[in-house]
């Protein structure tokens, strides 16, 4: 393993920022540290960089413990949330800074910077100051500056947070392409699940100082290990006492589960139903047009469930009664999440069939 964290704990006063955090990444991975604010993800990133010191635990980089190593010796490229570009230096000087401290010969610096500038596509802006750049350009400069000294690993703290929504999408793709081009191991912090899912090879989900689950985006989506991951990744409704639903009568009392939109099938009036015994009545609570689908909230046995509905199918109206079938749910049991299928369906509803 190229990066390895072993039981890292850190507290700030009374606040436990991270509690025995462990995970590991292979060389060349682009990983996302995903979690809500205050979940410890930025602290983890800053501890890898050496900007914070863990109270206990060990951090390994390429087999070597870097826990006690000075930040400047770790070989880390860091992109700050607000870029932290040197305001009184030009783009060229910003990128050159790390090379100068390494006492790189002048000619070599120039060559390297030109190479980086053409990589990020800002050859013409070498003489500009950060205040004269747009958010996206600043981001690119910060990226080039972090890469200039040839770091072993690239860390990015909320790299897209300060950029407006339109450019953000573009930059995500750009960053993804750059990192796969350079094949540099990278970790970025984000609180936006769609960003993590789109960009990262692996996602480390953090919640109140702990790692909930580590895995490929598809793995986290399909097999969330904990209730938190089931709720946080993808859109789902959490309900309690779901034993009331047809097909889930075996659920323990008072227990909770999460229902994804695609776990629900609606039958409008008159639509043929394959297995009559698997459906129950529901009332349409609200309808919202989302372009490709209708976003539907349906009330089923006292639960308000969200799902999608194709525009190709018979129209729905608010207040209308429909038939609802639930294929499967993520049942929460002792801090774990587990896929439970509708017992009345032939395959137990468990066949969550898609492959990437």
């Amino acid at each position: 393993m190229f990066v390895e964290l072993k039981e890292i704990s850190k507290r700030f006063g009374n606040f436990e920022a991270t509690k025995k955090v462990s995970f590991s990444l292979e060389k060349g991975t682009l990983a996302a540290l995903l979690g809500p604010s205050g979940s410890g993800k930025t602290t983890i990133l800053r501890m890898i960089a050496g900007l914070e010191t863990p109270d206990s635990g060990d951090i390994f980089l390429d087999g070597q413990s870097i826990t006690r190593l000075e930040p400047s010796r770790r070989g880390i490229g860091f992109v700050f949330q607000n870029y932290a570009l040197f305001r009184y230096m030009t783009v060229f000087e910003n990128i050159a800074f790390g090379l100068k401290t390494q006492k790189t010969p002048r000619a070599k610096i120039k060559e390297k910077i030109n190479e980086l500038l053409s990589l990020i596509g800002l050859e013409d802006l070498a003489g500009r100051y950060p205040a004269q750049l747009s958010g996206g350009q600043k981001q690119r400069v910060a990226f080039a500056r972090a890469l200039a000294p040839n770091p072993r690993i690239l860390l990015l703290d909320e790299p897209f947070a300060a950029i407006d929504a339109k450019v953000r999408r573009e930059l995500r793709t750009w960053l993804r392409r750059m990192i796969s081009l350079l094949k540099i191991t990278s970790i970025f912090v984000t609180h936006d699940q769609s960003e993590a899912i789109e960009v990262a090879d692996r996602i480390i989900v953090t919640n109140s100082g702990r790692v909930e689950q580590t895995g490929a985006p598809v793995e986290l989506y399909r097999t969330p290990a904990t209730p938190f991951v089931a709720q946080f990744i993808g859109e789902s409704t959490v309900i309690r006492d779901y034993g009331r639903l047809v097909g889930f009568e075996n659920a323990p009392r008072e227990s909770e589960c999460a229902v994804r939109p695609e776990f629900i099938r609606l039958y409008a009036q008159g639509e043929p139903i394959q297995l009559e015994n698997t459906v129950q009545d529901g009332q349409i609570e609200s309808l919202a047009f989302r372009g490709d689908v209708l976003q539907v909230t349906v009330s089923v046995r006292g639960f308000s469930l969200a799902t999608g509905y194709s525009l190709e199918r018979p129209p729905l109206a608010v207040g209308q009664t429909v038939k609802v079938m639930i294929y499967r749910v993520y049942a929460f049991k002792e801090g774990k999440a587990e896929l439970v299928g509708n017992r009345l369906l032939a395959n137990g509803g468990g066949g969550y069939n898609f492959q990437i």
Binding site: E52, T53, R68, P71
Partner: protein, 277 residues
């Protein structure tokens, strides 16, 4: 040990800058202040009370407090008007006045002292017309108040000015759209915003006025029981080599200044609570 500390203080230079800072503060502030505390500790409580409540000393406290208070109060009025005019209006000479506000900080106090004295004696440019009205300024308490008003003017203006600059016209416009008149707007909308700054300026002016020496001694005349200020009492005791007595008077003054500074801090903390972000 150094390893953990280094990694805690990520940015380099902690040892160096902290070392210089502590030695400097220690040498120039702590050691001298402690020396005074030691000197004060050698006095008996009775002695301290005796010196500090000596009739002449007591009257000097009264003069110092009374005149500083009055000067600070005068500046509440004129300092606020000046700040208001400088922020709100554009007129010829505005920049000049803005630059001159800090004159009392830049002009040596002794120069201010002799200049104000020569202006306000019975033969001075201002003193002469006033003397016909039976008012004498130089060598009276009025003179002390004049000198202290001069010295402490910048505190008030520079406390109020930034607050007025930050005050968004939106508030006043909102008031106006609700039908409030100019005076009501000022009283209900502007004044509450200014209050903490005015209080801070007042306290700073008061503290500075209590300690002020250079500008006052020339204009005061220094008549015992009438125009002697508290700092002068320290100087006279020192000139008689009565170090203990000088220390006793100083300790009382320090106590008063600290109380005022404490108040200023509280005011600033309170003011900060209303500021967003």
């Amino acid at each position: 040990m150094s390893q953990t500390r280094q990694s805690k203080k990520v940015i380099p230079g902690f040892g160096l800058t902290m070392g210089i800072t502590m030695s400097y503060v220690g040498f120039f502030v702590l050691i001298p202040m402690i020396s005074m505390a030691l000197q004060a500790a050698q006095l008996s409580f009775k002695e301290i009370v005796q010196v500090a409540t000596d009739a002449r000393v007591l009257s000097s406290y009264k003069v110092s407090f009374g005149c500083s208070f009055l000067a600070a109060a005068i500046n509440v009025v004129f300092g606020t008007i000046l700040a208001w005019v400088l922020v709100r209006y554009r007129f010829p000479g505005r920049r000049l006045i803005d630059g001159l506000i800090e004159l009392p900080f830049a002009l040596p106090t002794a120069v201010a002292g002799i200049a104000l004295t020569s202006l306000t004696t019975d033969k001075g440019w201002i003193g002469q017309p006033l003397s016909h009205l039976g008012i004498s300024v130089a060598y009276t308490k009025v003179g002390i108040v004049t000198a202290l008003t001069f010295i402490t003017l910048p505190f008030m203006v520079r406390s109020v000015q930034p607050v007025l600059e930050q005050l968004s016209p939106d508030y006043e416009e909102a008031g106006r759209t609700l039908g409030a008149g100019s005076f009501t707007i000022f009283r209900k909308i502007v004044l509450p915003e200014l209050k903490p700054a005015v209080m801070t300026g007042f306290s700073l002016a008061l503290a500075r006025g209590l300690g002020e020496y250079g500008s006052v001694i020339f204009i005061a005349g220094n008549k015992p029981f009438q125009t002697e200020i508290a700092p002068l009492m320290i100087v006279t005791r020192l000139e008689e080599f009565l170090y203990g007595q000088a220390t006793a008077v100083a300790m009382f003054m320090l106590f008063a200044s600290f109380m005022i500074m404490f108040m200023v801090n509280r005011l600033q903390i309170r003011a900060a609570r209303f500021v967003e972000n």
